[in-house]
Amino acid sequence: MADSQLLTDVRALVGREYGRIYAWDEVNAPMIRQWCEIMGVDNPLYTDPAFAANSAHDGLVAPPAMLQVWCMEGFHLNNYAPGSTTENPYEVLKLIESYGYPSVVAVNSELTFERNLRPGEKVYYTTRLDSVGDEKTTGLGTGFFVTLVMNYFVEHKSGDEAVGQLLFRVFKFRPANNHTVEAAPAKVEDKPVVKRPKPGMSDDTRFFWEGCDAGKLLIQRCTQCQTLRHPPAPVCIECHSFDWDSVQASGRASLYSFVIMHYPEVAPFDHPNPIGLIELEEGVRLVAGLVGVKREELSIGQPLQLEFQTFDGELTLPLFRPVVG
């Protein structure tokens, strides 16, 4: 919970207007040309006086997205143009920080334009602390969304004219405890469905999984020496023949060994999770989940029967159930 004094202090600031920050230079062609060059903008409306004169704009204009550029501080930190306010529009961030929210990340920067700026115009802006939200927790940590609105004007002797606006929102927060790699899984609003891990499949093993999809447990067989093998492989261990086909297992089996997984609890599996090393009556073994088992009744050698179950609508696995009676 946020400190109540913090909330009081912050609310006192919301709505406050901060004074003018002026542009160092009037809108000018050299800066426009350099900006366009860096940003990869090649519209001649911004850089070619002859082209611009014949356009609907009757002369050069500045790229609208440069709005923020004109009033930026100089090369040195906080070095604003003469006449600018010494007030700090970001004082609310310092205040929040003093209550133990050291980190900041910008989350919105939305520009609105009233009209194009032209070379020779002089720009300034004022800032309003628009809002500070309630304390929220995101994947990054716990803190406050702070929204500032900067209004941009061009000076005229007849009165100043609004030319655009910037809505700037940051998240000022205390980081989640994520200094280790394993911690802090990103919290998202809609928790993704965790599916069963899918097996890697190769040309040597695809038949097995396609068999499962068709409701058949297939065992690879060497067509030279008839040896059955699992897990599947490209060559026979006995005679080194690369020729093989497969036979369908009867589904009758016995329990050769087993474990019951308790920890770590990893989605999407149930815990405890009984898993068997299954010996098929054809003589080969495979690992498979056990269903319909009671812990105290599990014993090595007990008869089992194959069944298939499809997970997540896409992965069909062979499972084994104790034969009753």
């Binding site: 394993e182 097996p199 699992h230 060994s257 019951i260 990893v266």
Partner: protein, 392 residues
């Protein structure tokens, strides 16, 4: 027995390590350098003399960066052995081979990891994808069913071993209790001063039946490094030489990584049998010539078949060996006197090699009397490795 040209050619002459913790607070690279520089200082060898490096997967610290930071100019041998903990002894063997053949005169072996604070092997989430490379296809037989942690793969063997030989969860617990007893008197151990009872083992929660929490080793941050040079030069260095009497890796029939479930029998560790046979052949020694051993203990059940593969007891009789307390403090063959990975730290087995070095030097905190030869084994259930280290 004939001795190979490897046996006795090289020696471990320097040993260095960082502290072992749950969060080192510094990079793996820094840990590797701290351990390496400590090992070189221990050996009295200048870093510029290093001509080779060896480590094992999944060490993320590249040897070229260590070489660059040490200021090495003439590095002629480097290797990174695959299969994680199964490789724990192999870099020493590789280093000894490089030294014995004259390719490199001084080799640094290292393992540095922030396994606990940066990533965890037991998370059950490995991101295997569906592209048809072998590893993805292979884990496709297990991941969709949720058989997705080292504890679960070991559990499948353990359940069958219990069924076949009548070993019990209490027998696994006796392994844990004994190594935690050693850790309790080892100030470098994470569980220093924290022994456990068999009742506490039995009451600890299930991780994956038949494994309780206290059957599973901890996860750790830390680094260990060693310096290997010729046995000849070792005579003139400041530490008592720890001679590499034998080293071997092992793969055998039906080998898979943690899932060799398709062998006729799954109660043994035949790849460790390959290592045992080769270690005894190279060294000309047998089990009776060993005074102690560091038996890889990422999970307690696999300690039992390792004792059997090395002929320290008969097949299926490790439970009697354990019930008699032979493996414990004061027993006839104490193992994992540093506290094992269950008690000291999980530095992927390299801290076990370090304990064997200390036992031969006579500087272990839980020193065994009159140590001449020490067996060290590496990770089980995977392609593995082993060493016999001894006095000159």
């Amino acid at each position: 027995m004939t001795q190979s040209s490897l046996s006795g050619s090289a020696a471990i002459v320097g040993l260095g390590a960082t502290e072992f913790s749950k969060n080192s607070g510094r990079t793996e690279l820094r840990l590797a350098l701290e351990a390496t520089l400590a090992a070189l200082k221990d050996a009295g060898i200048d870093p510029s003399e290093v001509e080779g490096f060896s480590s094992y997967s999944v060490d993320k610290v590249p040897e070229y960066e260590i070489a660059r930071l040490l200021g090495c100019k003439d590095v002629k041998f480097f290797s990174q052995v695959p299969h994680g903990g199964g490789a724990a002894c192999a870099p020493i063997m590789h280093a000894a081979m490089a030294v014995a053949t004259g390719v490199a005169k001084v080799v640094v072996v290292y393992r540095a990891m922030n396994e606990r604070s940066w990533y965890r092997f037991g998370s059950g989430s490995y991101g295997f994808a569906s592209t048809p490379i072998f590893e993805n296809v292979n884990y496709g037989w297990y991941m969709p069913h949720g058989l997705h942690t080292p504890a679960s793969w070991v559990g499948m063997f353990a359940q069958r071993y219990m069924h076949t030989y009548g070993a019990t969860s209490e027998d696994f617990g006796r392994v844990a209790v004994a190594v935690r007893d050693f850790a309790a008197t080892n100030p470098a151990a994470f569980f220093y001063g924290k022994p456990i009872t068999l009742e506490e083992h039995q009451a600890s929660r299930w991780i994956c039946e038949p494994l309780h929490l206290l059957d599973c080793c901890q996860e750790s941050d830390g680094a260990v490094a060693m310096v290997i040079t010729s046995a000849e030069r070792a005579k003139d260095l400041r530490q008592k030489p720890v001679v590499i009497k034998a080293g071997s890796q092992g793969i055998t029939s039906g080998q898979q990584i943690m899932t060799s479930f398709y062998r006729d029998d799954i109660t043994g560790l035949p790849e460790m049998g390959v290592v045992a046979k080769e270690l005894y052949r190279q060294s000309g020694l047998g089990p009776e010539a060993l005074q102690t051993a560091v038996i890889y203990d990422h999970f307690t059940p696999f300690v039992l078949p390792q004792l059997e593969e090395f002929g320290l007891c008969e097949r299926g009789e490790a439970k009697e060996f354990i019930r008699a307390g032979h493996h414990a403090r004061g027993g006839k063959f104490p193992i994992n006197t540093h506290g094992g990975q269950l008690g000291e730290a999980y530095i992927h087995g390299m801290n076990g090699v370090a304990e064997a070095v200390r036992q031969v030097r006579g500087s272990a905190v839980n020193q065994v009397d009159n140590v001449e030869n020490v067996l060290v084994t590496a990770g089980t259930g995977v392609p593995t490795s082993g060493l016999i280290l001894g006095a000159a």
